[in-house]
Amino acid sequence: MSKLILEIGVEEIPADYLAPAINQLKEEAKKALDAKLIGYSEISGLYTVRRFILLIDGLEDKQKDLSFEKKGPRYDIAYKDGDMTDIGKTFLAKNNINEKELKIKEEKGQKYLFIDVFEKGRPVKKVLSEILPELIRGMRFPKSMVWDDSLVTFARPIRWILCMLDTEAVHFNFGRIQSGNLTRLHKFIHDNKAVPVKDADDYLKQMVKNGIILSQEARRNEIRFNANSLLKKSGLVLMEDDDLLESLASSVESVTAMTGTFDEKFLFLPKEVIITAMREHQRYFAVSKEDGTFTNRFVNIRDGGDKNNDFIAKQHAKVLYSRLYDAEFFYKEDLKTPLENNNEKLKEAIFITGLGTMYEKMERLKMMAARSKDLFGYADPQILSEAASFSKADLMTNMVGEKEYASLRGFMGGVYLAKQGKEEKVWKAVSEHYLPNMAGDKLPSTAEGVYLSMIDKMDNIVGFYIAGFKPTGSKDPYAVRRQVLNIIYTVMEKQINLDLAFFIYENALAYKKQLGKDTDTAEIIEFFRQREINYFREKGIDYDIISSVCLGKVMNINDDFKKAEMFMEDRKDTKDFNAIVFAVSRMANIVPAKYETGKTDRSLFDAPEEGVLYDKFTAEKNAVENMIIEKRYKEAFDRIASFKPAIDEYFNKVMVMAEDITKKNNRLNMMAEIRDVFYKLADFSKIVVDRK
């Protein structure tokens, strides 16, 4: 059993490329080893910003021998009158055997030629030297580059490849690089020194000894630990920021934390502005007191020892000073004029090519907000319209217009509106209307924020469809799918009672009124439907129940879900549930698909069972309908269930498809009439009934 280490030494790879790339390498390595019949016990992967490491444990020394029967041509083609034909001879020649080694076997009544094939496994080291360069070549990144005349591509230049099988170097070429037994130590601390490696374990030991941390988790922990032990003395703690932590851990090989201070005078700025200046551009952690109070401290992570740390921290503070100085300037400038004055500038900003400006978008949001009573049952459309009219103005402020602070869109608008003394409902709605960014994310905290967020997102979705950027397969450059999921997530989490189909239709109408542009709303509705179905699947709803409730012209996801949950619960009592569903769908199924329903005529009844069922129906019809309208789905279903004995009796005694066409049609009319009422709850025929 042998152990392999492959280390691809590179110049600094972008942080978010690393984890996906190592996972891909591991997967592909598994596939390659399996395909080559090489046994192993475990594959693992590690990385730093400057290396990808693949470790394969328990490798066998040789490929498995391969023996199998190879099928040749049919016997009656390979032989004519007992003599071998050209086809038969070719088969022998190709496989380099003589006639005596042939076997004749029958398969499905036909005779075929067969031969035994045996391939001896080659030494694994040799095979590895062939497959490893291919594995490196197969690594995929969001962007790759060429760096020399070999024209091989990788995320950044590869500078060395270490490859050892136990204590022997595995030699191969990748581009201009020759693999061997050398690794390199830390770029700054050890001057990028090349050192020989004995084997995989020796490699890991040398890395530990030299302070190079190969595991992402260990680097994360080290950053947290170093930073907090530094802060603890002053009663301070790191403000958690998982994204920043992940990105920093992916950007270093060794970890040194240092803390610096910025001028207290900047603390009057909203702390979100300061945190953004620190995290988005300088990649510093913010620091708070143990009670959560924000402070004028920051933490920087360095990769390269701790010489000169105090001086370096002061330099960082200087850079931060000039950033905060800019932020202060933007902030003060922005406060000089009312936020809404920026709306004029929105006329210069394109929304989506061919779909007018951001100003026109804002106007559409206002139009939709004005309809919020009909759309969401929201009581105060005036307030929402006002919020909509301010919602995009911050895009043109000094602060948000600056790339560095672009992520504060919405939030800054809220800050400025609050300073202007606008109503809390208004500024909060503006502040939070970009939330959520993804399913599972924070949601707007107010009803106004939720509605404005949905109106904004729907306007994007419909707009992208009109402009021809609808999501297809893997292509979705404007993240339309994510925005749809965000709306569904919001609707479900906030239990919003609305008809999404109507919402889509109204939004498309707003586009048409304003720009004269149109799209097929059915397509958008169908896209929402599919996401709704996926969402229900994830929530564990059975597929047939989804099909029975996720349909129709109205799309009220919360209603659909309530029904689905009710059916799921009822289904637990399988026997009853099946019997009821069977009885109800029996009525529906007997009505031909294209049957045009007429009126039921009581005077045409001849069997008493007809009268019994119809009387019960006419007596309870309104009750059932009301229950459905009032969303008392369980009661509605129970009431429908109470029809079961009458339905069963009916089918026992009555022949629906009677000879007499008038009677037949009358019975069909009655079946259809009952079905139409019951199916307001769900399409029972879609529910799979176990008839055992």
Binding site: R137, M145, D149, A155, F188, K318, S322
Partner: protein
């Protein structure tokens, strides 16, 4: 280290690494990449190693000399090496040592950067180099120039001289940089910054500039039609600067921006194609070669 000594030191360093010390090109440009020494010379198979200082103009960045870090005129120090040496990163770090920045005593970061110049149709991958939290150099492996896929690949290093000088001298304003023992950067440029800011933002005649831009564009096209890509390229530089001036005057709407940029890029492409043809470097083969594996 005085500002001029910083320049001398870099010149001396890269001279010893085999670069010719080129001189700035005499037309306004927004970045050193626009210079002949980079734009034309990164094309085609011939090796090329050059280092040069390049004055850059970004009309919109003027602040009337009131902001210590932003100016409409500044210097870049540019190194272009083709083919990119395998140890280019080490050479770069060595150059920092040469100007007195000991890499072991500082926090140096190579931060991901996908560089792109839409006006030149150029792109590359590399890093922004940070020194103790401040960006001091753009480090790029060119992949495309004027839409042409490159082979061999050039490495481009662009040092921000003022920032480095401020850092080394420990001053908080570029205008306080000591050019030598007696003259400051402010002595040389403060008045320029004030006047040019006024010109760029307030007085530039947009009607004249726009019609000049259109005239220059036609002249560039005409010259490239006459197989004179190098003079034609002068007009790429000129219209690119005129565009920047108009932009500073807010005379170009957001909607019109892309079409202006495309105009400049198209002309740059004509120049690059013409240059490749004249120097017997078939652009098409280049594409095919570099595109394959």
């Amino acid at each position: 280290m005085h500002f001029q000594d910083l320049i001398f030191t870099l010149q001396d360093f890269w001279k010893k690494k085999g670069c010719i010390i080129a001189q700035p090109y005499d037309i306004e440009k927004g970045a050193a990449t626009f210079s002949h020494s980079t734009f034309f010379r990164s094309l085609g198979p011939k090796p090329w190693n050059a280092a040069y200082i390049e004055p850059c103009r970004r009309p919109k960045d003027g602040r009337y000399g009131e902001n210590p870090n932003r100016f409409q005129h500044y210097y870049q120090y540019q190194v272009i090496m083709k083919p990119a040496p395998g140890n280019i990163q080490e050479m770069y770090l060595e150059s920092l040592e040469a100007i007195g920045i000991k890499v072991k005593e500082h926090d140096i970061k190579f931060n991901e950067d996908d560089w792109e110049s839409p006006t030149l149709g150029a792109s590359g991958l590399g890093w922004q180099v940070w020194l103790d939290g401040m960006e001091i150099t753009q480090f790029t492996f060119f992949q495309q120039m004027a839409g042409i896929t490159l082979n061999p690949i050039s490495a481009e290093l662009t040092y921000g001289l003022e920032r480095i000088a401020m850092y080394i001298q420990g001053v908080n304003s570029a205008f306080d940089i000591k050019w030598n023992g007696t003259v400051t950067y402010g002595d040389v440029f403060l008045e320029n910054e004030k006047e040019y800011s006024a010109y760029n933002f307030e007085h530039a005649d947009t009607v004249m500039l726009l019609s000049t831009l259109n005239n220059f564009y036609r002249e560039g096209e005409r010259l490239s039609g006459l197989n004179l890509p190098i003079p034609a390229y002068d007009y790429v530089l000129k219209i690119s600067h005129l565009f920047n001036l108009l932009d500073a005057r807010r005379a170009i709407s957001i909607a019109d921006r892309p079409s202006f940029i495309k105009k400049i890029r198209d002309l740059a492409k004509l120049c690059a194609d013409g240059y490749m043809k004249l120097t017997n470097q078939p652009a098409e083969n280049q594409d095919a070669k570099a595109g394959g594996k």
